[in-house]
Amino acid sequence: MGGSLNANHLMFLGYGALWTIGLSLIGLLGGGIAGFIIALCRISPSRIVRLLSAGYVQLIQGTPLLVIMFLTYFGLPTLGITVSPLTAAGASLTIYVGAYLGEIWRGSIESVPKPQWEAAEGLALSRSQRMVKVILPQAVRIATPPTVGFMVQIIKNTSLASVVGFVELARSGQIINNSLFEPFLIYTIIAVIYFALCYPISLISRRLEMRSGPARLSLGTA
């Protein structure tokens, strides 16, 4: 222990940041697909599907991601399913991000004014045609800013993958901190790296928001 910050430490942090980016992409991809399905389920004509998906969203949004990670990685083996850290982290992020994106997207779909649905109905378009040609293009405009905004949260939340053994940005900082004992310095560096990863996305999100009018929805985490 002791010593001072050197290039190796920075390399180590950089390597951690790569994992952070990789995990974010996995979460976004998996969560995006899951979220799309959830959003459709939430507005399904079937009451049971609506209830089940609403229950899923409530459950996941009420549970810290840390706990989801833990239970996926260490809980599934007790049921006889072995998962690698990458699978566990990917699955957890998918489950988690899907619940949030699903809600954002459902809100966007529902915020397309009711007369638009009716006008499309009046033109004899089928349910799927209404969705694809009239509602979704308008919903995408509404949904883009909060979706991009939520990506920032995904990036920050991948830090919890340390529980399944990933040494991503936050954990690599913690490890260095525990050999240097300089939390002030280390955490400021980490903050700067996170800022560098997140701020451009926030900027894009804001641009989009300005272009498509005020966002009715936005969600974030700490």
């Binding site: 009716e118 004899a124 089928s126």
Partner: protein, 251 residues
């Protein structure tokens, strides 16, 4: 506009029989019955809140009725097993608020349904879009987005969009209230041409002059009931004091 009417010549195109409809405690339609024959233009009038829009919405099954029977072009609208899309291919509806799709150009707004529902070719649909837009005096707005048009122009585009589906019945809900007299006149001509071509129409309007000019039959609604009905002439010589008051204080 070429119309192929399948309905047997004897049966009415639209028929409402003793239709009841409430919103919660509020009784909006209280035993409404009327019929519209082929090629007929029926004008629904009545004071605000008397249930005109609701009656129109029930015909196109945007609202489910509580009891009674509605038949439109041989579709039993009150039947729970109704084929909704088949009904709406036969019925065109234009709303009080124009409801153009804001993310599509006027041309795309108009060609969307003919291409998706009827499966006609893009080129054909575009040609048709040009025709119907010309009918409403908007041929130069083909590639504009709705928000680039004035209210009046948007309403005309919405009418054109409905016309493009070549429906058997057209329902209009106060389509002229955003138009100035000049444009109202133009639309009136369009609608007259449609009527001459055999189009059946039900329209809600507040403009009595317009009603007089276009109506084959007038239905005056009052407190959820059909209070008086008859040819356009009843607007000038009403039989009931309520209709007299309604038109008398107007123009």
């Amino acid at each position: 506009m070429h119309q192929t009417l399948n309905a047997a010549p004897t049966s009415p195109v639209v028929s409402l029989k003793n239709v009841h409809k409430s919103f919660g405690p509020l009784k909006v339609l209280d035993g409404v019955s009327f019929e519209v024959d082929r090629g007929e233009v029926l004008v629904l009038i009545g004071r605000s809140g008397s249930g005109k829009s609701t009656a129109l919405r029930c015909i196109d099954r945007f609202e489910k009725i509580d009891s009674g029977e509605i038949v439109v072009c041989d579709h039993r609208v009150s039947d729970p097993k109704l084929d909704l899309r088949a009904l709406r291919q036969d019925v065109g509806i234009v709303f009080q608020s124009y409801n153009l799709f804001p993310h599509l150009t006027i041309e795309e707004n108009i060609t969307l349904a003919p291409c998706s529902v009827k499966g006609i070719s893009k080129a054909q649909a575009k040609e048709q879009a040009r025709q119907v837009l010309a009918q409403v005096g908007l041929e130069d707005k083909l590639h504009q987005y709705p928000e680039q048009l004035s209210g009046g122009q948007q309403q005309r585009a919405a009418i054109a969009r409905s016309l493009a589906m070549q429906p058997k019945v057209m329902l209009f809900d106060e389509v002229t209230s955003a138009l100035d007299p000049e444009l109202t006149g133009e639309v009136l001509k369009v609608i007259e041409a449609l009527a001459a071509d055999g189009m059946t129409m039900v329209m809600v309007t507040h403009e009595m002059g317009f009603a007089r000019g276009i109506a084959n039959r007038v239905v005056f609604m009052h407190r959820g009931k059909v209070h008086e009905t008859g040819p356009a002439a009843i607007l000038t010589s009403p039989a009931t004091p309520e209709l007299a008051q309604f038109v008398g204080t107007g123009l």
